[in-house]
Symmetry: C2
DNA sequence: CGGGACTTTGAGGTAGATCAAAAAGTGTGG
DNA sequence: CCACACTTTTTGATCTACCTCAAAGTCCCG
């Protein structure tokens, strides 16, 4: 079992989530306060543990407080495909509020701490504040938009383009929550996990990382990604951050200048 | 331009949509009446026309009344990937209510008739009836669930498995709206379109169709799909209809018996 | 009856898979 | 602080599913 270092009601874990919601949806004081007041139960999950297992019928949603979480599906012969990636501030399975019986597992790709929030509390909030309902629905729509972008990559782009695209996406998402600088960010996934994300083999991921390092677009070494040539990276990935719906925070300043 | 055979407020076009919503979400009389009363503007779209073009900022959602509609994204070198498929009764871009600026196009894959519904009317409904808001949010979550299933297929399954999976999905979705019988349904897509859906070449789709015909699982000839061996098809596709969230209507009677 | 879109078939090429094994890192308990 | 087991990364060699290019055949509609 996961080590269940559970603490109790703690409004501070909701703050990063609220901040991310506010990037996309305006909410007034009362609505914001209502979100912050949601009761949570926090726990630490070791790497490679399922937070929610396949086919489980949940009564709560999982907010990522720290670490990194993937939504994983599996094919009969054991191949895994990750269909969503969640970083701190993301509600990993907000959709479970309206669809409690999911057909995927939620897996901690590295040690993570997550806060559980009861569906009934979220539903109550939505019934009371239509703006919150809309904000949550919008967040789910953005998740779908990101997934659609991945589908295009997996279906139609080369391995190198997929990898550079992932790097660009993470750079934007991490810098939106203030965890990436213009120089890069901490890379928390093994090459096998990246393969499961991109629909590739771990071996091939390794070779593509080597190629990107060689090309001098970025450097991925010792679990740290360093951006070296952002415009080249964007171009190789055909990256346009619009689908992330993170507005002005989507790209660090320097990148805006560089990309024009 | 598309031929704009627009009629006015017509409650009958909403009925199939309501029926599909009710498969997933219970709504009371008043709520149902409110949905049926939504004002619509119907038009006919020729094959291969964009109903909503890329990056457009829409003020309405599109309900598919007849035909077949795809959500299409494109890569820089012109390769197309279809990330959602909508059949009659589907609201093709319900998510645009909360995310009006989309990064994809809505394309009529064959002659289609669609009914446009103003976002502001839908929003008004959601503010008034939280149950409707929840039902619409849920519908979007199901779309995302379907897309996730495709991502797994594109990333991890063989061409033949992807094609059989698509056949199974369409058989279930069409039979849920009473358009497929146990014998099969009308196939409305060209092989090139199927390729864009599955992340394959039209040529390879052609060969896989030939293989499936040869295997005797199904017969796809002259724009008609005939199911021959449903259990074999399901097995080849590793198909489990749970992700479609269509409950008991998901599979025709015979198939339940056959699949046990 | 002619032009365009779709399907079918063939031959050959390639991106990425598979299999295998060495090298480097990581953590645990003694 | 070391020794042992385990996971992750790296490299090499070979294979194959699917792509590309090309051309013929078929269907459909005006």
């Amino acid at each position: 079992m996961a080590t269940m270092d559970t603490s109790d009601v703690d409004t501070s874990v909701m703050k990063p989530f609220l901040a991310r919601v506010l990037l996309r949806s305006p909410l007034d004081e009362t609505e914001q306060a209502a979100i912050l007041a949601l009761p949570t139960r926090t726990s630490t999950i070791p790497a490679n543990w399922d937070i929610v297992s396949l086919g489980e019928d949940t009564d709560h949603a999982c907010l990522v407080v720290a670490g990194i979480v993937g939504r994983c599906e599996q094919t009969a012969n054991g191949d895994r495909q990750i269909t969503a990636l969640h970083i701190p501030g993301d509600m990993a399975d907000l959709h479970s509020v309206v669809l409690p019986k999911t057909s995927w597992a939620l897996n901690a790709l590295a040690v993570s701490t997550i806060a559980r929030i009861k569906h009934r509390d979220i539903v109550a909030l939505c019934e009371c504040y239509p703006a919150i309902a809309r904000a949550f629905w919008r967040d789910c729509a953005v998740d779908a938009s990101i997934l659609a972008g991945w589908a295009v990559g997996i279906g139609r782009r080369s391995a190198k383009a997929r990898l550079t695209h992932l790097i660009c996406e993470l750079q934007c998402r991490y810098s939106a929550i203030g965890v990436a600088t213009d120089e890069g960010f901490e890379w928390r996934m093994s090459q096998a996990q990246v393969g499961d994300l991109l629909g590739l083999t771990a071996v091939h991921v390794n070779r593509m990382i080597a190629a990107i390092n060689r090309d001098g677009m970025a450097r991925l070494l010792e679990r740290r990604l360093t951006i070296i040539d952002w415009p080249a990276l964007k171009a190789a990935a055909e990256f346009d951050p619009a689908y992330l719906h993170l507005q002005r925070q989507s790209e660090p300043e320097r990148m805006h200048l560089a990309s024009g």
